[in-house]
Symmetry: C2
Subunit: 589 residues, 2 copies
């Protein structure tokens, strides 16, 4: 047996007549009229091997014992297939390999599921046998794309003078934001490292250190209650620069994405990318990450209905709320009363108390609330909502946040149900002019909308302490098809502004010093203006690969309860290990 | 003020007459005859700015207030320097910038040390102010080189079809080997993740998954007692392939290193790289990672002295020990009796009970032990040691391991003291044919010399359980200038061999299943033969950059006690954080 001459999926007619050596897995075996056909698979695809007694009786005998997923080393001659057996669906479909030698490198038990793109088995089973799941061609292709994504991004950033710098994984715990994963120290009893939620502080310190342009494809960690699209560890494309304006940074990120889309998808995207202010995004789409692949925008009717006889509407406006609607074009016939009850339940989840609706007929609006609107009012509604016969109008009257959340979600749901979304589109969008703070009514305090290092808009700095709710951030999010790809900001680089920021966030002077003293001190030694952006790699790959499950983009992902079903992590450790760390458990195991 | 037009270090005569905008840090300010000269620095170098009252009085006034490390935004015209003031040591030395506008972007306190390559301050102070330390040009150049190293390696591996795949950081604790860092789980009370000591198992599972060629520039973690050249987190270039022989993998790694040396150092290295078996390395250099930039090999004298009247020698041979010597050419005059006492103390540290010595004179050997050797014996020693007048011969008689350790270390020490080492050389070397196991006399058990997944030599498999001490590994280490750059091996891919391996290592069947059951199971589903190599990136950069401190290659390194002096990690965490993790401390804080 000699070394591999071709990958399975790459043997074409060019190779006819060549003696080849192939190595791979048995996709399937068929016995047919004294011959044996084996589809041999590797990461590049499949090639057909034929064993026949004239060529080699020994090889045929070995082939008879072979089963699915056996690992074979095959030697043979590439021959053209008969016209009748040509398979134009695969690259190797015009040839086959006449085997004259075969060796079983390793055997295989019957796998718990078939190695095919379409698989119906539970995800838990696939995760337990992840190494078999990874053999499925579509999954492999996703990781190849992931490789190509980082390759394209590294090439772009290298060309622009960015240096790839690694920042620590064992770092300091900072209570702001999500929960840290902690790592007990053996050398320092009772002390802990934390795994970083992002390299934020270190990349800023690199700017203080004059590095000027930094990037890293960085692992980050968040001990949050997981949702379907969250992982305890995730990867971000982390970029920071000095002496660049917000416009400079956005333009650079756009160029990077343009190159990426060309390299990975072969698509030309047009620059500059569209922009929406945060306020407009909420007003028009009810979302800070709008999917702009379809319209169906939220229309504000507060003016039109503020004096309406329909008290639900007029009262909402009178008490500081809003009335907004979406027009589901041509959907009147597609939604029965019962369907609409379902939509009502759906918006209830977003806090909306109800969902009013009207169907547009030639001469009138129909529906339970139609009677509250006289002819003039109906005309006004039609005009503002650009309604035509057959449209379904859906209204929410509530506090602005509830209206946005409910109608924003309903818009997406209807967009999918009505098949308004062109899945081949990649709609990028910047969302800008974010508020600097979010007020949390439960805690009665302000939180940083992005993080505590975001630079306020220069013209708002005076109001940082007096009117924090009015302060805008020099921040920008990049949105793709309704997903937040990532975001960035200019950072605070002056000690006094950073101190004020901590104060608004409720830090005492001592707390600020305790947790971020080193950063405040760094700001006193000649800190340049700086800013950057961080993009989520896992989600980016998911969207570019057209997948819907974030776990398909991570080689060894964890479940929603943060378990690795393959290695069985986390797991118990020995008493000795705990003693080394000066720890005891408050739980009986 | 407009955007930066040049980096400071890149303004040359080509730009004379141009109006430029520069941003950077004040390296120094000199006031001279009514003018002010400022050396402005950024990551590319330094440029001289001149402020004079004719050009701009306002700018001059601002410049008067400027101190070291202030961040400036300067506008001005590039002009040629007077012949007399040209500085040929720097790229920008033929020009200067006549400033017509300047803005202080940020001020700076007096830094705790000067931002210069030669700095005398303690490393602790430099680490506490790492962001200032990083401004030193030599340190920045090291990180630029690190970027170029990974760039070259990624380009090579990408070209060879390797995919960059990320493996988990939150993984399962396995007691074999060094101590794991543990991460308590909040969702699974009493359970822990471990940070990986290497991606070993995951990369093998990727091979089981048919990925064929994997690489990763991977962060690894080891909770060991630190030495000067160890860090709790370190980075390795981690490579794994399927269906390749040991020769294939070594050849590939050589090509990668050849390209790297060309890309980063502009050097052509000759392939194939030299090789030594483990046994020869120990015999000839007393080290498994010999520095071959100089000779002074260990010479075995056991045959020559076995019947010597010098009982220390003859007894050593009679009791299964060895007598070996090194010949320090021409060093007789350089080492006094007292110096040699110092060398004796040095070899004591390696367990040698003594260091015998002889100085070679024209007609005789001189020294305390000379009298034990008659003329014939002296002649024989001279011949075997290739001794000439003026040489210093140094002998150790002891158990083979002590002889190797002591003389190996002494050889390196003398090599340095006698300046035998050509620091411009990059001597690569493969060390092959490693033993599979090491016997630990204290624990009375075998340990895996590399790791438990290393494939035994095919011809030794029969003896795996019966004579483990004789079993060789299909393993190879890459050595550079006396440092282990990294190592690799073919891996076990058959369940029964892996099970035997665990047995020899003292695992009960249950322990093996408990810790590595998923791997043993994976081996049953069609595992390809596979192997790889892992190279230490930090150390590689250290050697290529000609530095001696591993911490200079890591942006934010930790001290020997695993502390980050900048952020003060590890640190105490709140009671609430501990409660969330079901932990209490066995130490009063």
């Amino acid at each position: 047996m000699f070394g591999r001459t071709y990958y399975c999926g790459e043997v074409t007619e060019q190779a006819i007549g060549e003696k080849v050596s192939l190595k791979g897995w048995v996709q399937r075996r068929r016995d047919l009229g004294g011959l044996i056909f084996i589809d041999l698979r590797d990461r590049t695809g499949i090639v057909q091997i034929v064993f026949n007694p004239e060529e080699s009786k020994e090889a045929l005998e070995i082939a008879e014992t072979v089963r699915s997923e056996y690992v074979l080393d095959v030697e043979g001659i590439v021959v053209a297939r008969d016209e009748a057996t040509i398979n134009n669906n695969i690259i190797t479909g015009k040839i086959e390999i006449k085997a004259n030698d075969v060796k079983i490198i390793n055997e295989a038990k019957t796998p718990p599921f078939m190695i095919e793109d379409r698989t119906e088995v539970s995800e838990d089973l696939r995760l337990k046998y992840r190494y078999l799941d990874l053999r499925r061609p579509a999954l492999f292709e996703t990781f190849k794309m992931r490789h190509n994504v980082t390759k394209s991004i590294r090439a772009y950033l290298d060309g622009e003078g960015f240096l790839d710098i690694e920042t620590p994984i064992l770092t300091k715990s900072t209570p702001e934001g999500a929960r840290d994963y902690l790592v007990p120290s053996r050398v320092h009893p009772g002390e802990f490292y934390a795994l970083p939620q992002s390299p934020q502080i270190f990349k800023q310190l690199l700017m203080v250190g004059g590095f000027d342009r930094y990037y890293q494809i960085a692992r980050c960690f968040r001990d949050e209650d997981l949702r379907a699209d969250r992982q305890p560890e995730f990867t971000q494309i982390d970029i920071e620069t000095s002496f660049m304006s917000q416009e400079d940074i956005m333009a650079m990120a756009e160029q990077m994405m343009k190159k990426l889309m060309k390299d990975v998808k072969g698509l030309d995207i047009e620059l500059p990318l569209p922009r929406l202010s945060y306020e407009d995004a909420i007003n028009r789409y009810g979302s800070d990450k709008p999917d702009t692949r379809f319209e169906m925008e939220l229309i504000n009717l507060s003016e039109v209905v503020k004096d309406s006889g329909f008290k639900v509407f007029s009262n909402a406006v009178a008490t500081g709320g809003q009335v907004k609607a979406i027009n589901a074009k041509g959907a009147a016939g597609k939604y029965t009363r019962k369907d609409i009850d379902g939509l009502t339940e759906y918006v209830n989840r977003y806090g909306a108390k109800g969902l009013a609706w009207l169907k547009v007929e030639e001469n009138e609006l129909k529906g339970p609330i139609a009677k509250f609107f006289d002819v003039e009012e109906q005309k006004a509604l039609r005009a503002v909502l650009e309604a035509s016969t057959g449209d379904l109008l859906l209204f929410v009257a509530d506090k602005p946040k509830v209206v946005a959340d409910a109608l924003g979600a309903l818009r997406l749901k209807l967009g999918k149900e009505l098949e308004l979304i062109d899945e081949s589109k990649f709609n990028f969008l910047w969302v800008t002019d974010w508020p600097l703070f979010e007020f949390d009514e439960e805690d009665g305090r302000y939180y940083a909308a992005h993080h505590p290092f975001t630079m306020p808009a220069r013209e708002d700095i005076e109001q940082l302490e007096s009117k924090p709710w009015e302060v805008k951030a020099q921040a920008y999010d990049l949105v793709l098809n309704g997903y937040e790809l990532g975001g960035g900001s200019l950072r605070i680089f002056e000690r006094d502004i950073q101190e004020k920021m901590f104060k608004v966030l409720g830090f005492t002077e001592e707390e600020a010093k305790d947790q971020f003293g080193f950063l405040l001190e760094a700001f006193e030694y000649g800190t340049p203006p700086h800013g950057g952006i961080a993009l989520g790699l896992d989600r980016m790959v998911m969207l570019l690969a057209g997948r819907t499950n974030l776990r398909d983009t991570i080689a060894f992902p964890k479940t929603a309860s943060a378990s690795d079903l393959l290695t069985d992590a986390p797991s118990e450790v020995s008493k000795a290990q705990l003693n080394d760390l000066y720890l005891s458990l408050n739980v009986r195991k």
